[in-house]
Symmetry: C2
């Protein structure tokens, strides 16, 4: 997915929000804004939004000197989600279709996202509401069928906190007998995206192999990923990609991709033909709105 | 009121929205965005937001070659409001306190604003809801008292459409015997702000003298206004200023000012100690929240 004009004010807005998290110094915040605008002027928009976001957040890091502004927020998000873990496990256990419930939880977990503008007051309440309502795009039957043959499954993670929800789904996949599951994370801290440290902090390494994508973009920009990662990406039978960033960077890739996400911005909504807030399980083979 | 960092992404967002109204040419829209960012970089923020907005909307005009992109929208807004005029007059006539109701209608009319992000689906419904709820800042008693002595009243208009609501209040002031009322408008088209032509289109000239402020800013930036206007501004017994723009540009001026507005953005909300959506009748003498 390319970048749209609508993304430019959004990048600037994100830059302000993140620079306020990175530093209390208003002069530095202003310097971030100025440098970001300098970068955006006449910037070709054929890159995907996460490629530009990487530059924006890199500027915040450089100007503020704060390498990981979202560190405390990520820790908090992981803790909040872990608190909710036992209840989620019980929900899956008691469900008529544990895999479907685990998928819905993984999509619901995608709301834990600092890049968007709104605050999550009560994660638990919102998650329960999402799980009890239908997916707007629902390729569950295709996903379920693909799983029966999948020997190598690559799971592309997204945010801290959300990865606890992913753990639930991965545990379910393990129970179903998927032979090899690799959970991919960002190579270095960016926004509240999960890194190796985060994956280990929520014990994901007990259930999957953890692998860095080799890139620090808040997405999976293949041209920036390590050859080891790209090799796995090409040979995996099945890829589950979480969140908008992974959709933005991979929407033009193969048919073995499944996108699990909550639509968070009008640009992605338009690209998908959906509304902001819609929950999506989309096979890249082509899917139908429910 | 000075400009805040939060205003920068908002200017860029407004520039995109307005440039799409001004032209269908995406290259021109991008050129607007680039030029606006060039202007905003390292721009001192001690000017008020409307001074910067004037520059932004001037860029849209220059790049698109469209002198008045909002012309059709303004005409539509005037027509919509005129359709609602008889019902508003009946509401005022049947009210226990016609002046208070006319004041509330004038504040409600401030929702007809293209500079904000949301769309007004049904003006009538929203207006009725506003009129039936209390003002969050309510200096009506001070306003009422000031009116008894006022010989020259200057009324600073804001948007097209909204001026029909202002007409209701001005007719009420005339009925109460205010000797001279001057209704001030922008000197040239900017966003959907009312000009002399708009004021005449809704027959405001039957009830007040129409005067241009001499400035094309979407507000009352005194340093840019004509000497004739500033003279009147200084000698008026009482000034009613409509909308956020006039508040942003005049909040540091005299005690004879009354601001009638709906709070539309988080920055103005913070400056006033209020919430977005709050309705305000504020005396510049100092006021109390109700």
């Amino acid at each position: 997915m390319k970048t749209y004009l609508d993304c430019l004010p959004c990048f600037l807005s994100q830059a302000l929000k993140a620079s306020r998290i990175a530093t209390a110094d208003e002069k530095m915040q202003r310097e971030v804004m100025d440098q970001v605008m300098e970068q955006l002027i006449r910037l070709p928009l054929d890159a995907s939004p996460p490629q530009i976001a990487r530059m924006v957040y890199g500027t915040i890091r450089t100007v503020s000197g704060n390498r990981d502004p979202f560190s405390a927020i990520k820790q908090k998000q992981n803790e909040l989600a872990l608190d909710f873990y036992p209840e989620m496990k019980a929900m899956v256990r008691d469900s008529d279709d544990p895999l479907l419930l685990a998928v819905k939880l993984a999509i619901a977990g995608n709301i834990i996202d600092m890049a968007i503008q709104r605050e999550i007051i009560d994660i638990r309440e919102e998650v329960l509401s999402i799980v009890s309502s239908p997916l707007v795009v629902n390729d569950y039957a295709v996903l379920r069928k693909s799983l029966t043959d999948a020997k190598q499954l690559l799971y592309l993670g997204d945010n801290a906190g959300e990865i606890v929800f992913d753990r639930i789904l991965i545990e379910e996949l393990t129970t179903m007998g998927t032979p090899r599951i690799v959970f991919a994370v960002r190579d270095e801290p960016i926004i509240n995206d999960a890194t190796c440290d985060d994956a280990r902090a929520v014990d994901l390494d007990r259930h999957a192999e953890i692998m860095s994508s080799g890139s620090g973009a808040p997405a999976t920009v293949l041209s920036e990923c390590s050859s080891e990662f790209v090799h796995l990406f090409r040979k995996a039978d099945m890829i589950i990609a979480k969140g908008q960033g992974n959709y933005e960077s991979l929407s033009d890739e193969g048919e073995n991709l499944f996108f699990l996400l909550t639509v968070k911005c009008p640009v992605v909504a338009r690209h998908l033909g959906l509304q902001v807030g819609d929950r999506v399980l989309k096979s890249n083979r082509g899917s139908s709105k429910s």
